[in-house]
Amino acid sequence: MPEIIHVSVNGIAVAVESGTTVAAAVLQCGISSFRRSVTGEPRGPLCGMGICFECRVTVDRLAHAKSCQTLCTPGMEITTDE
């Protein structure tokens, strides 16, 4: 049985299995706009492998974390759509 950990996405507590990527946790919340482009357009994961940089979110107050390449850790604060 995988361990369940808790993170927060935009202030809302979310339970995920350990080993879940931040991208999966965000998608699990039904969020599709991970960030905004310079001109304000919504952006979300595209390549899923760390190349396109489209899936960036803010993790523990540090902007531009690639959510597809970052694993959830207990208590992590994730902010999207910035």
Binding site: V38, L62, A63, H64
Partner: protein, 374 residues
């Protein structure tokens, strides 16, 4: 049709562009000759810190004069020039550097430049992301930041609106009276100005200008992380070394929220390729002062060449060898700042106007007296 100009300026970096505008505003008939894109040389590689400097009295006069010209111009600058009155904070890491802060403060305030000594607590408040344990700093609020390539383009466009002609082409020979272009044509002009930055010796052989390479790194957007241009006071020690490569903590907040991280200085490196050892040293230095930078994402790294003269002052005026070939080059690490002052001093000499500051320290003829590497 063959046109004759009063002044033909070779090189449309920020210096050439500023000179062209000043000439055009003085109603001189001016041509600017550029082989690549406007503002694409050292100007595109630079940091865009407009800064009053106090290494020498002459350096101070020109940088302060220019800084004030930028501050006067600010209301006219379009948004894409990204002018911001960020001020400079000169950071002191130990008591020695703190005494340098006090000296700098006396130097500036006695010459009418507003400055304020910050203690450790005030520094922390001004820039919370600096590491703890720094001793203090000097805040110089009238320094600013611009985006140099758009500034150069704006100056060149304004010059054209005032009647200047922009000629695309590579100058291959300067003569008193004309500029030969690589396509076989010639631009005829009473005066010719070599404003080709670090390339100037190619057109004026024998000019004592050395290339001094610099690296910069820019991060992704982290709005609010940094508020002022920060420079370590140890900079003074490293920037003066002519023998060795050096790196100093020097960071700049961009209008986009990006952080521009500098800066390195290298003589004898003629290739524009990125030297990863230098970049690593530069980033390590930056992280010593601002540890949180270490977690940020860098998006680009590039290099550029400063045009360094033996005495660290630019060459502005008639060349030693030909009174019809003039120079506006040798601005080393300060040409973004001093472009506007250079343009004034150049045109003052051309039209016989009195200059706001003494011009003698920048005359190319001074080199015939002094060959000292300071």
């Amino acid at each position: 049709m063959r046109q004759t100009f009063d002044v033909a300026i070779v090189g449309a970096g920020i210096v050439g562009a500023a000179c062209a505008l000043e000439c055009a505003q003085a109603e001189l008939k001016v041509a600017i000759i550029e082989s690549s894109i406007v503002g694409g040389g050292a100007t595109a590689a630079a940091m865009g810190h407009i800064v009053a400097m106090d290494d020498s009295e002459a350096q101070f006069s020109l940088t302060r004069f220019s800084q004030q010209l930028w501050n006067t111009l600010r209301t006219e600058l379009p948004r894409e020039v990204e002018f911001e009155l960020t001020g400079t904070i000169w950071v002191a890491a130990d008591e020695d550097e703190m005494s340098a802060v006090r000296n700098k403060n006396r130097y500036f305030t006695s010459r009418g430049v507003p400055a304020e000594v910050l203690d450790a607590a005030a520094l922390k408040q001004a820039e919370p992301n600096l590491r703890p344990g720094l001793v203090g700093a000097l805040l110089v609020p009238e320094d600013s930041v611009i985006y140099p390539p758009t500034a150069a383009r704006w100056l060149a466009e304004r010059a054209q609106q005032c009647g200047a002609s922009l000629v695309r082409g590579k100058a291959i020979r300067l003569r008193g009276g004309s500029v030969e272009i690589a396509d076989g044509t010639a631009i005829s002009s009473s005066l010719v100005v070599n404003a080709t930055g670090a390339w100037a010796p190619e057109l004026t052989p024998g000019l004592e200008i050395r290339k001094r390479k610099g690296h910069l790194v820019i991060t992704d957007r982290y709005s609010g992380f940094l508020r002022h241009q920060l420079v370590e006071l140890g900079y003074l020690k490293s920037a003066h070394s002519v023998t060795s490569d050096s790196c100093a903590f020097n960071v700049q907040p961009r209008a986009t929220g990006q952080i521009l991280i500098g800066s390195s200085r290298q003589y004898g490196a003629e290739h524009s390729a990125i030297d990863h050892k230098i970049v690593a040293g530069m980033l390590a230095r930056a992280c010593e002062y601002m540890p949180a930078l270490g977690k940020m994402a860098a998006v680009r790294c590039w290099t550029g060449f400063r045009a360094a003269t033996p005495d660290k002052l630019p060459l502005i005026g008639p060349s030693v060898t030909d009174q019809k070939i003039w120079l506006a080059t040798g601005h080393e690490g300060l040409g973004i700042t001093t472009s506007l002052g250079t343009a004034k001093l150049l045109v003052d000499q051309i039209v016989g106007r009195r200059s706001a500051i003494p011009i003698e320290p920048y005359l190319p003829a001074r080199g015939s007296r002094e060959h000292v590497y300071a």
